[in-house]
Amino acid sequence: MGDASGKKDHYTSLCRMCDNRCGINVYVEDGTIVEITGLKEHKWNRGRLCVKGRLAVDLVNAPDRIKKPLKRINGQFEEISLDQAYDEIAEKIKQVQATWGERAMSVWKGEALGFLTQEDLYRRFIHAIGSPNYFSNDSACYVGRWLGYALVTGDWATQDFANSKCALIWASNPPYSQPNLTQSILNGREKDGKLIVIDVRLSAIARQADEFVQVLPGTDGALAHGIARQLIEEDTIDHTFIDDFTIGFTSYSRYVNQFTPERVERETGVPAETIIHIAREIGRCRPKVSVYAGNGLEHHENGINNVRAIACLDGLLGSLDQEGGNFTAEKPGLKDLTLYRDKPLRHLDPIGADSYPVLYDFRKECHSISAIDTILTGKPYPLRGMILSGANPALTNPNSKKVIRALKALDLFVVRDLFMTETAELADYVLPAATFLEHPELHCHPIHQIISLSKEIVTFPGCDNEYIFLKKLAARLGAGSSFPWKDRETLNDWLLEGTGITIEKLLDHPEGYQYKPRRYRKYLEEGLPTPSGKFEFASRYLKDYGYPELPEYIPPTYMSAPNPDFPYILVTGARKVFYTHGRNRNFKRCRTAIPNPDIEMHPVDARKIGVETGDIVTVTSTVGSVDIPVKVVTPANILPGVTQVTHGWKESNINLLTPDDRNDPIDGFPLMKSVEISITPKVKS
């Protein structure tokens, strides 16, 4: 910390405390990691790092890390050897599959340990042992937006904020969720760009907005259609792009015509003049308009179409794959670790693939919420075993009570994690795992089209990384041939084969190695990866599945059918800089800064209920109830009637309240950001 007078070994690597993956310097003294700073040369973060990056020192050295396998014996956890654990788990997997069928086994991958390669390794493993049931955090996060865009353009582009004239940050708070975007957004704005932030709360990024547009939760689709209608009416649209590269414009423009500024004001709470004004700003800046659609859009009953409505704006503005617009990054062409080509197993009915075929078609994602139901009901078939890695659904999936019941009911539940999480507490076996500082991984930053290598800097005996764990387990299950690489390094070499990129090149380029220079408007030559090859305002693919072909707007239930017993609206999930979902609560230092959860409420609501900051209230939905301290925010921060609770706190787990049966019909994403609640005071502080 501070002055580097001691003898320290220095490594460059990448941080994985969240998904931003910033370049870091890591300092090791006597075999222990003692300091982490931002890597100045790295193209992505340019030396900047958030406090979580520094906290990785706490993570890797945490005294409460699980270092030995634990087996539940008579209700208590006892330490056993790694070999015994792997042997027994393999035997039990065989039993589950022999008794209930191969598809009765499943995997569930979270984000606490690794990223893209980790995901592909679990997909590979579960197919290698004969089951199609891969679950992950992605059936409740990220993929909603990815699908919303992919249904329109075939992919989800990145945002070229650095060259943008108008940055539109919609339902996202980059300073806490994607810290580096903050730099790019503000650098772009500095070159006389405009920053428009649309959100339900006055987020950190909103503080710098030239226009802060406050919307009612779940109504963003109506706002997007209202903006579209205004752009079309004022003819600030790209006719060449629309005529030559899109389909469905006529029916789409007819549909959005009903979203007059007055109608949108009623639906969203945004004043009509504001809608007209921001549409004019956006139209004026075209095509250099970059739109970032945040997680705040996904967790609604109408989430997918809200995202699609926003995605459609790219088509009107001609900003798709443009400099300063939404740039479609090219990938480095790494080898595919999954077995979907060789062993698709579609005939085994992956769970959720029938209810949410779009989710499965596009992402091969099984539906984690359906997994919970399947475990409990045995329908459509028994799901009896699960290996879960780096995820904490007992705390972060909707309807926690039910999740806990289901995970307890499994015949075999194996959890791999760094700490004894709320989910690990339910397991039959808890296995130690390796942090991102303990294995080498390839990382891409699409916006710069660079690839970087994170390093194995320290290791702990018995803490196998994901690859080694799956390799050892697969060998015991007769699937060893699917994991032939000696170690993670050899695997990385294989992933890079054919790309022209080598590990040596990556070691020579700690700043990130650019695998391709940027090309814009690739659709001119290559078309778009959609069924029609064009930008789809209307989707034939969705129509064939029985969904409306246009991104039709349906108001959230709290508006269309309000329940007087639950008069307030709950938004969840606002990020905090110290915590990533359920993680880091066990670091005492973080508790100094942000010691407890709270429910943010407008002063008018606090007065009505009769509470002040610090008072405890009972918050109730149709699903469950939780007690939580109040935080009265300033009137500018949140709309009256709307409240916010950040998730991931076991002492006030807001997912006791979130429903798991009011999902978006297209992608199956849960309702977590416009839940009807009641609030009553509990104790005067």
């Binding site: 910390m1 501070g2 002055d3 700073t37 931002g38 030396g47 900047r48 790092l49 958030c50 406090v51 520094r54 300073p175 806490y176 810290p179 580096n180 903050t182 730099q183 503000l186 650098n187 704005r189 500095e190 070159k191 006389d192 006055l202 950190a204 990024i205 503080r207 710098q208 907005a209 802060f212 800089v577 110290f578 230092r589 973080c590 100094t592 800064a593 300033t634 500018a636 921060n637």
Partner: protein
Amino acid sequence: MRFITMDITKCVVCRNCEYACAFRQTGDFNRDDSNIRVEYHDDVKICLPQTCMHCDDAWCLEICPAAAIYRNESTGAIEIISDRCAGCKMCILACPFGNIHFDKINLVSRKCNLCQGEPNCVSFCISGALQYTTDQNSYQNNREIFQRFIENLSSVNH
């Protein structure tokens, strides 16, 4: 010399700087221990980071009766020698910007010392609002921003 410049058009009040500074002093994240403070006025949406500007003519240095405040020759930073500080708080009164605070546990005054030339707050400023730069660079940078602002004003006339 270089000092910390603060761009109020970039600060988002994430307070990473406060936490990073507190951490460097104490290993914990208590904002009271930070030598940089960010204020936010949400009715007018002004984000204001503030830290010591290491004045050429530092009043805190002048007033200290214990001669505990001096200028570090290599970084140019105005620093308090805690061992000499009597805790009289005259420096706190003297600083017109309120950039010195009192450590109630150790009973000494505390202020920014530019972290021996690698200011932690700047490294942890994720928005880029804080820069560690020379006054010449800052002046040039601000003039360029202002020029662009003027150009933009004259071009937006349709």
